[in-house]
């Protein structure tokens, strides 16, 4: 063995090198405070090793980056561990870097003759931070994407060359494929190369001057190996242990795939940049412009650090440097803590983080599905998932009136500020405007179509629709009813006074006055009714406009091909053009209808002139009475009357009819065809009999099909011929029914003239409507993620705190 080594030494001279490396003198003895540099090298080596192995499985493109990281994390053997080590070693490196820098400054090891080495170290620090920044983007998840967007925008704020720098770094005017490829080249090629280069220089220059001991008499001078190496080794082992523990018990997380079009309110940089982030949240700082807070101030502080070797020539200078270092450390820790605390107290932020975590879980669930991840990338999985998009659509479009289990669909309560008597917002205990829970003005849809929903609808109709009574239109209608009741009283008195004969001039005057009031009232309510008709027409128009827009795009694409000299099927072009013209005509006709209606709304008088003839006034009065009766009022609707009948309610509630009632419920639930409700077919069949006949085991109730007579045994729901409706129960709360309903609830097969809900055909695309409805009927890939917890109790509590609470 000895001979072999001796032969090798003669050829290569390795023994000398080894001796040089291992037996460096350590004056003052080996110390724990010297371990940081070695731990940094160790951590870097861990990064290189784990990095190279990750490199073998990672693919940097906008369609494959997240996807390949997901595969590493969830499927590859120990992929989660390799990635975990890489992730946490990166964090460890930043911490160790700070320790190393602080130790060097406190021990004065930056002073002559070690200035150049200090600067080399600072360069290494920049490279390590650059590695962190570039690495954070590579998974191409929401978190990394948005955090890096901020960083590149800050870069863009650099004076003079900022814009060009930003474009170069991004690989274009926007983030895209080239952003990833460039960041990847930086992260795996350029920066590690530079780091190795400067590290070699750093070590070489360090060895030239050796250790600078603070206390020479701390311990007898020793050699690097084995004493310092042991201490270094233990420290490295400790770092490794921490990294492994974090990797195993916490694990690197992977957010949902980056979606440039989806707002991400939980955007934060990695924790070691939070102090900078917090710094940019102070108005005092931002007042001077972004470049001030993000570039000049940090730049200045960096400059002070760079100048430390020069300042440190004087003893006072050294003290200043140490003080400055401690000050910076405290400031950075302080700002970071402030950032955590502020975020923890921010309800909006906490909810956004929860939502981000839900999305991350959901997309992984979907990726495990039978169709895996499509070629266009995993982002499309969430975009087409009703479980994800439904709540957001609900919050945006429905939560102005409805709630879902007390919240807006996404788990958030709906708040508003209220003005006090002085016209200023009412303040809470913290001096800020108090958030009051907004009163819902429509039914809570949390249990739509369920058995509980139908039970409530049939047995407790008034309470089921009680929220409606808080809406403006209801109150306005109630006021109109009151007014009408007063006028009717007055008319009764006037008619009694007239008796059977002809009215005298004074009585005629009174009748005319009553007539005039009726006309005023009629203007109001008819205007409202015409408004509802307009709503329905606009719903229809919205649908037509969508079809027209699609036809236009189809024709334009074809025409574009034509102008690009591509072979185009002329007959197809012609038919598209014809279709387009047809649709334009239909739309124009609808627009004309709307225009005519708007004209009518200018003068919504039900009657033209007031009259003194008691018969005429009587007719006017009853006409208005009819109109008012048609308006929706849960207290006075026919459905409410149906079971206001004491006998009917007793029948429904009695024990003998319990089974019949449950069967009826089962029938209604089965109409939706929802899988998740698992309607019992046998029970539903029995329930259908109750529905059609009203016969119970003991007694009977009103026959449902007497009013809901548009119900069809098979086939789809149909338009009703009446002016006002009893909603069609055919396939009620199925996806198809809901889609048609939400598009235009004023259709005669739904609420008809009683409707108060906007027609969404003109503000929801077909895609969105589909997602919303499928969420409501729970038609999506099964999930283990629980629903948002019910906020019904919080809603009730919050309503009590309103100043206008009854």
């Amino acid at each position: 063995m000895k001979r072999l080594l001796s032969w090798l030494d003669h050829r290569t001279g390795f023994k000398n090198l080894l001796h040089e490396a291992l037996y460096e003198r350590v004056p003052g003895g080996a110390r724990w405070r010297y371990v940081w540099g070695s731990t940094l090298v160790f951590t870097f080596v861990v990064q290189m090793i784990t990095g190279i192995f990750l490199w073998m499985a990672y693919s940097p493109s906008a369609q494959t980056a997240w996807e390949s990281v997901y595969f590493i994390q969830e499927h590859m053997t120990l992929g989660w561990l390799v990635r975990g080590m890489h992730h946490f070693a990166a964090q460890a490196m930043v911490v160790l870097l700070a320790f190393h820098l602080i130790q060097v400054i406190i021990d004065g090891a930056y002073r002559a003759p070690r200035e150049v080495n200090f600067w080399l170290g600072l360069i290494l620090m920049q490279i390590v931070l650059g590695l962190s920044l570039t690495g954070y983007l590579l998974p191409w998840d929401q978190k990394g994407y948005y955090a890096t967007q901020v960083a590149t925008k800050i870069l863009g704020a650099t004076p003079l060359v900022g814009q060009q720098l930003q474009t170069l770094v991004q690989g274009g005017p926007e983030y895209g494929h080239h952003t990833l490829t460039r960041f990847f080249a930086m992260h795996t090629g350029i920066l590690p190369g530079l780091l190795v280069f400067f590290l070699v220089l750093h070590l070489a220059v360090f060895r030239r001057h050796g250790i600078h001991p603070k206390k020479l008499d701390h311990a007898p001078t020793t050699t690097f190996f084995p004493d310092q190496v042991l201490k270094d080794g233990v420290a490295c082992l400790a770092v490794l242990a921490v990294v492994m523990l974090l990797a195993i018990f916490k694990g690197a997380d992977l957010g949902a795939p980056a979606n440039p079009a989806e707002a991400y309110s939980a955007a934060r940089p990695e924790w070691y940049f939070l102090f900078l982030f917090q710094f940019l949240r102070f108005e005092e700082v931002e007042h001077y412009g972004l470049a001030f807070g993000a570039i000049y101030v940090p730049g200045l502080l960096m400059l002070i650090v760079v100048l430390m070797p020069i300042v440190g020539r004087w003893k006072a200078g050294h003290r200043f440097n140490v003080a400055f270092t401690w000050l910076m450390a405290i400031a950075i820790i302080g700002l970071t803590t402030l950032s955590f605390v502020t975020d923890a107290r921010d309800e909006g932020f906490t909810l956004a983080v929860e939502e981000a975590e839900r999305d991350a879980k959901r997309v992984k669930e979907l990726a495990e599905g039978p169709n895996r991840i499509p070629v266009e990338g995993a982002a499309s999985l969430l975009k087409t998932d009703p479980f994800t998009q439904g709540p957001r659509l609900f919050a945006k479009h429905c939560a102005s009136c409805h709630r879902y289990n007390g919240h807006d669909g996404t788990g958030r309560m709906v708040y508003e500020q209220l003005k006090g008597k002085d016209g200023n917002p009412i303040e809470g205990d913290d001096g800020k405007p108090q958030q009051f829970v907004v009163r819902p003005t429509a039914v809570d849809l949390g249990n739509l179509g369920s058995r509980d929903w139908f039970r409530s609808l049939l047995l407790d109709y008034k309470r089921h629709f009680a929220e409606v009574k808080h809406s403006t239109w209801y109150r306005s209608n109630a006021a109109a009813r009151e007014q009408h009741a007063k006028i009717a009283e007055r008319l009764k008195k006037a008619k009694t006074a007239v008796g059977k004969g002809k009215p005298d001039p004074r009585q005629t005057g009174e009748l005319r006055a009553i007539s005039a009031s009726l006309i005023e009232l009629s203007k109001r309510i008819r205007g409202d009714a015409l408004g509802q008709r307009l709503n329905r027409l606009q719903g229809d128009r919205g649908q037509l406009a969508k079809e027209l827009a699609d036809a236009e795009v189809a024709r334009n694409s074809l025409q574009q091909q034509l102008s690009a000299d591509v072979e185009v099927d002329q007959s197809l072009l012609k038919s598209l053009a014809n279709k387009l013209a047809e649709k334009k005509k239909t739309l124009a006709a609808k627009d004309a209808e709307i225009k005519a209606l708007r004209n009518e709304m200018q003068s919504p008088d039900l009657f033209k002139t007031s009259s003194g003839d008691p018969a005429v006034v009587d007719r006017q009065n009853s006409r208005i009475g009819e109109w008012l009766a048609m308006l929706f009022d849960p207290e006075a609707s026919e459905m409410a009357a149906w079971y206001d009948d004491e006998e009917a309610l007793k029948s429904l509630n009695s024990d003998k009819n319990k089974a019949d009632f449950e069967n009826l419920i089962e029938f209604l639930v089965a109409e939706s065809g929802r899988d998740d409700l698992s309607a019992d077919k046998a029970k539903a069949a029995k329930g259908k009999t109750v529905f059609k006949s009203g016969k119970l085991t003991a007694g009977s109730v009103g026959i449902c099909t007497d009013c809901h007579d548009s119900w069809k045994e098979t086939g789809d729901f149909t338009p009703s011929s009446r002016d006002f409706s009893y909603p069609d129960v055919t396939r009620v709360y199925s996806a198809k029914w809901l889609k048609s309903f939400i598009s235009n609830p004023a259709r005669t097969q739904f609420y008809g003239v009683k409707n108060r809900m906007p027609a969404y055909a003109d503000r929801l695309s077909d895609r969105e409507l589909d997602l919303l409805v499928r969420w409501l009927v729970r038609d999506y890939f099964p999930t283990r993620i629980p629903d948002h917890e019910s906020k019904l109790d919080a809603l009730q509590e919050g309503l009590k705190e309103r100043p206008d609470a009854p």
């Binding site: 901020v150 170069l168 975009k383 128009r541």
Partner: protein
């Protein structure tokens, strides 16, 4: 055992030759060419995002002749009390070698202003590019990243953002359809510069 070659004994390396200027010059020149050619080629390639001519987008089926996109929503759909609503903008996107037809490229806030007209704002915060939310409770626009706040006319309410929200050009076409010119603007600066 032969000694390892002692390079320091070689006379050539200890004297710097006086003659051989041409050789030195040639050596430098050849080295420069050999070194610079790949570097300059690489540098030019690296500067591609700044140098490549953007091919004139040969018209877009989704945009009209003035570059407006159909939002497929009518002005009647906007709440009459001036509350803003967020609508998605769809367009074709070209990213290097891919074309993505009809994808979401961003969102806009639409509302009826005090004059009853339709006003549109980009949802991208002019501070550092996060997405601006609408706070119903405060009836203002609010960016959750660094707490920029704007009133409903888009004017900034605190000193965080460098300018107000970016208003977008709106056209209300035949029968109330809303079309907008979707543009993006540089963040961090007080001026509104189109990217």
């Amino acid at each position: 055992m032969t000694d390892p070659t002692d390079a320091s004994a070689d006379p050539q390396t200890s004297d710097i030759p006086r003659r051989g200027f041409v050789t030195r010059a040639l050596a430098g020149l050849v080295g420069a060419v050999a070194g610079l050619v790949p570097l300059v080629t690489g540098a030019a390639f690296f500067l591609d995002p700044l140098l490549r001519k953007k091919s004139a987008a040969g018209g877009n089926a989704r945009k009209d002749s003035e570059g407006y996109i159909n939002l497929r929503v009518t002005a009647d759909a906007l709440p009459s009390d001036g509350s803003p609503q967020l609508f998605k903008v769809y367009d074709d996107v070209v990213d290097a070698w891919n074309k993505f037809p009809n994808v979401e490229v961003g969102s806009v806030w639409l509302r009826r202003n005090d004059q009853g007209e339709v006003a549109a704002f980009s949802s991208i915060c002019p501070h550092l590019g996060c997405a601006v939310d609408y706070r119903q409770s405060d009836r203002d626009f609010y960016c959750p990243c660094h707490t920029s706040a704007f009133d409903l006319d888009g004017d900034k309410k605190n000193e965080i953002p460098p300018r107000g929200m970016d208003a977008l050009d709106v056209k209300v076409k035949d029968g109330n359809g809303i079309w907008i010119k979707y543009e993006k603007f540089r963040a961090t600066i007080p001026e509104k510069v189109v990217i």
